[in-house]
């Protein structure tokens, strides 16, 4: 027994002398690395920088809106600010946030694999991300973009701002996203370990797989749209330009054929993260595993059929509106299936309010509001009234920020010890989560009210009757900023002061918690022990390790692959 204990300490305990962070040194070893973990970390640094930049732009916008008249931003600059805030948040931050940053790190380890299927393509997609971001920054510095993140024609053809640089950026970022998705699909398909069938995969993998399907199928349409828009501006093709016989609404169709599924590129991985967090931190087997798995695929497929609901007021036939409206409601079904399953998982679970769990609970609450307010927007009669008001702004911020960002933060706290081998300060993390939750609601809930009273979006000046709502919103935005700063501070401080993390600090049963924290270059130094990903009986606390280890039986067969029956010996 003592040998086993020693073994466990070695295998599941603290980081071995060499891990992927220390395995090789120097800038070149990072810039040319093919290791999915390092690429994930580089993505993480990149997307967090983009988030900070776009977040600062958002704070500037909210400051300007504190009084009804002009404070310090001219109308033109206001247009540029909200365009860049939206474009950077959507294309540079949210879309790659969970799949490319967290997913790159976690997905292969969850599969017990050494790497993704195409490590070089993985690095290439990171550099494409860098290249696309570079063009975005370029478009910001030279005659900043002012079209809104949607690039609607004909204005995007006429404006003198840097549309070409921005669409080049979108084009390149699109291919970064496509290659990430392609890599994930192939990795999940061909590199699952023997014994891990589709329905023994952790739910995050299902979510990332569904996301990858959308990335591969939808993003090329955005790429061709961007290309056509560029050609329209440079050559004058007359495909979108009404002056040359083109159809500007066709651009909207093309754009939303990508950008609506892109909404699910943003939210599906978040749902996957939440499925993990809820189950692990309430130590209860996930309720309705197969329903959650299938609902991910259902959302991915239905997401392709609803783009027309962005154009209810753009001149579609009533029949088309009716169909798109009905299809839009149908997306609510798989989303609701997930929410009910999470709540059912929490029921009678042993919930610990760790920081990731705080974020996960916030997610359910905020995503609930965000999802339900989508229904009036999908109904023609109410949408005509609410279209292009702050109600829409509040709705998608509840989904994108209250959903994706919150889940991203929860996932980041959950996997942070795995990534860097350090535990963060739990109290600080919880405080950050609480302030983020309060600040977020303070910012966006008033926007529902003013939107339903007719405050249009994208306006630099507004009627004084909305002032109180805008002021609450601005105060909320500052609070949200403080909460995020606290969360960031807690994470960064853990790198210096945090105590060393065991391999499995959360009693999680998925494979990434079977390797050391941080993992070694090859992820696993031993044959993986494949359990049900949500079977918490197969995990036990080991004092010597200071964390959780798989339950092992001395007589266990070598190469113990599927081990569904947990045995309670210590």
């Amino acid at each position: 027994m003592s040998t086993i204990a020693k073994q466990k300490e070695k295998l599941f305990g603290h980081a071995p002398e060499e891990n992927f962070l220390t395995e090789s040194k120097g800038w070149a070893s990072w810039l040319f690395t093919l290791d999915h973990k390092r690429i994930g970390i580089m993505y993480l640094i990149g997307v967090m920088s983009a988030f900070t930049l776009a977040g600062i732009l958002a704070l500037i916008l909210r400051m300007e809106l504190f009084i009804p008249g002009e404070m310090f931003l001219s109308n033109q600059n206001y247009n540029r600010m909200f365009t860049l805030h939206g474009a950077i948040m959507v294309f540079v931050f949210i879309i790659p946030s969970i799949p490319a940053a967290l997913g790159n790190f976690i997905l292969p380890i969850m599969l017990g694999a050494k790497d993704v299927a195409f490590p070089r393509l993985n690095l290439a997609s990171f550099y494409l991300w860098m290249g696309g971001t570079f063009f975005f920054i370029l478009s910001m510095l030279f005659n900043a973009l002012d079209t809104g993140w949607t690039f609607y024609t004909p204005y995007s053809i006429q404006t003198s701002s840097a549309v070409i640089a921005a669409t080049t950026g979108v084009f390149i970022l699109g291919f970064s996203s496509i290659f990430t998705g392609l890599n994930f699909i192939v990795t999940v398909n061909t590199m699952r370990p023997p014994g891990m069938t589709w329905f023994k995969m952790p739910l995050l993998l299902w979510a990332l797989y569904s996301t990858a399907i959308i990335q591969v199928l939808a993003t090329p349409v955005l790429a061709i749209t961007g290309l056509l828009l560029m050609a329209e501006r440079i050559l004058g093709l007359g495909i979108f330009d009404p002056a040359l016989g083109g159809d500007p609404v066709l651009f909207q169709h093309f754009f939303w054929f990508y950008s609506h599924p892109a909404v699910y590129i943003m939210i599906l991985p978040a749902m996957g993260v939440i499925s993990e967090l809820i189950s692990v931190h309430s130590q209860k087997k996930i309720f309705g595993y197969e329903f959650i798995a299938y609902s991910s695929i259902a959302i991915a497929l239905l997401g392709f059929l609803v783009w027309g609901h962005h154009m209810f007021t753009s001149g579609q036939s009533e029949m088309v509106i009716l169909i798109f409206s009905a299809l839009t409601f149908s997306v609510a079904i798989p989303s609701a299936v997930k929410v009910f399953n999470w709540v059912a998982t929490l029921y009678k679970g042993s919930i610990t309010l760790t920081t990731p769990m705080c974020y996960a609970l916030s997610f359910i609450f905020l995503f609930g509001i965000g999802g339900l307010t989508g229904l009036p927007l999908g109904t023609l009669s109410t949408d005509v009234h609410l279209h292009d008001t702050y109600f829409v702004v509040a709705h998608f911020h509840y989904v994108m920020v209250g959903g994706t960002l919150i889940a991203f933060l929860g996932g980041l706290f959950h996997w942070w010890p795995k990534m860097f081998g350090r535990m963060y300060n739990e109290k600080g993390g919880q405080l950050g989560a609480l302030i983020v939750f309060i600040g977020f609601n303070l910012t966006f809930f008033p926007q529902f009210i003013m939107g339903s009273r007719g405050m249009p979006r994208r306006y630099a000046k507004y009627d004084p009757e909305f002032q109180i709502f805008h002021q609450i919103s601005t105060i909320g935005a500052i609070t949200l900023g403080i909460g995020l700063a606290i969360a960031g501070y807690v994470l960064l401080m853990s790198l210096y002061r945090g105590k060393r993390a065991p391999g499995n600090p959360w009693a999680a049963s998925t494979l990434e918690f079977q390797c050391s924290s941080p993992p070694t270059f090859h992820n696993f130094e031993h044959d993986i022990i494949l359990n049900d990903p949500y079977d918490f009986e197969s995990i036990e606390y080991d004092e010597r390790v200071g964390g959780y280890v798989p339950v092992l039986e001395p007589a266990e067969e070598p190469k113990s692959v599927p081990q569904p029956e947990p045995v309670e010996t210590t």
């Binding site: 071995p16 050494k114 192939v186 061909t190 050609a231 090859h522 001395p554």
Partner: protein, 383 residues
Amino acid sequence: MTTADSVDESNHGHQNEFHIHDHSHDHEEHPDGPFIAHHFETAEQQFDSGKLGMWLFLVQEILFFSGLFVAYIIYRNHNPEIFEAAHVHLDKWLGGLNTIILLFSSLTMAWAVRCSQLEQYLGCIINIVITMVCANIFLGVKAIEYTHKWELGLFWADAYTYGLPQPENQNYLLWLSLPFIVITLLSAGLATFYRVTENDFWAKFFLCIAISFLGYFIGLGIAWAVPAQEHGGHSSDHAVHGSDHGHADGEKHEADDHSGDSSGEKSHEGESHDKSDENHSAKTAVPSESVDTQAGPSVDESTVDEASGEVNMGGFFSIYYIMTGLHAIHILAGIVALTWLLYRTLDRQFRKNYFGPVENVGLYWHLVDLIWIYLFPMMYLIH
């Protein structure tokens, strides 16, 4: 990586507990061969992954083109008369020739894949080179087609100047051909250089490249030769080109001409009339087509042309250039990929358990072929 050894020590008595991985030999060759990556268990797993990845990439490619196909459908639906009027400017014989060339290159590509599976080194090289020659012939023919239209002012919507006097001395063809001339001469020179310095590998490589790019000039030659026989739109374009002067006038009176169009169409009235002139010469050049081309436009033009006045065929050519242009870029990418294959084949890197790259480039090449198979009837064979 070194920890595995120390763990192994303590683990020794209980080997039946775990299999500790020993990565110390990791930087050596994979047991399945030098080209199997470390994170794959077997050559088969790597092949399957590569192939699935390629198929997904092809799906992505199809969706990339799908936007253009949708744009085509919508514009053809909105403005059928533009498509009817414009397609006669495309030479269906050159288009058909290019279709046959691409189909043949798909055959040689598939043959190259088979050769690499069977480790038939020479056969693989020959087939790859033939495929590249075909790709270059295709581009040569395309270059003639493009430059001929540019000389007539048949540009995309905004630059469309058909029927107006064209600037003199545009060397469109020379500019398009310049990269091909440079590459051919450069690779021929390098081939000679390496032959002289007895560097066999690079001599062979550059010889193959030079031969491949000669295909472009074969394509130019064929495309020049075809109009010499009396065929379709292409030769009629020449006739129009010759009487360009008359068209400047014809364009001004177009609206008037169209008013009599429905009757004038069949009775061959108005020699200065732009469109009926086009249809007329097309019909006389290819008598067998005359029935088909007559039926469509005469109905549409009577209804639509009056309303829209000067029909700017640029709408059609916008779609034509963006679709065929993107397709040509894909051909160029294919040539680059084939060059990479050529290098690796000459280096004898492919073997029975490792021919994935040839197979995958082959898949890509078939897709490029397939897209052309759709483009050809959509653009050239409109009735």
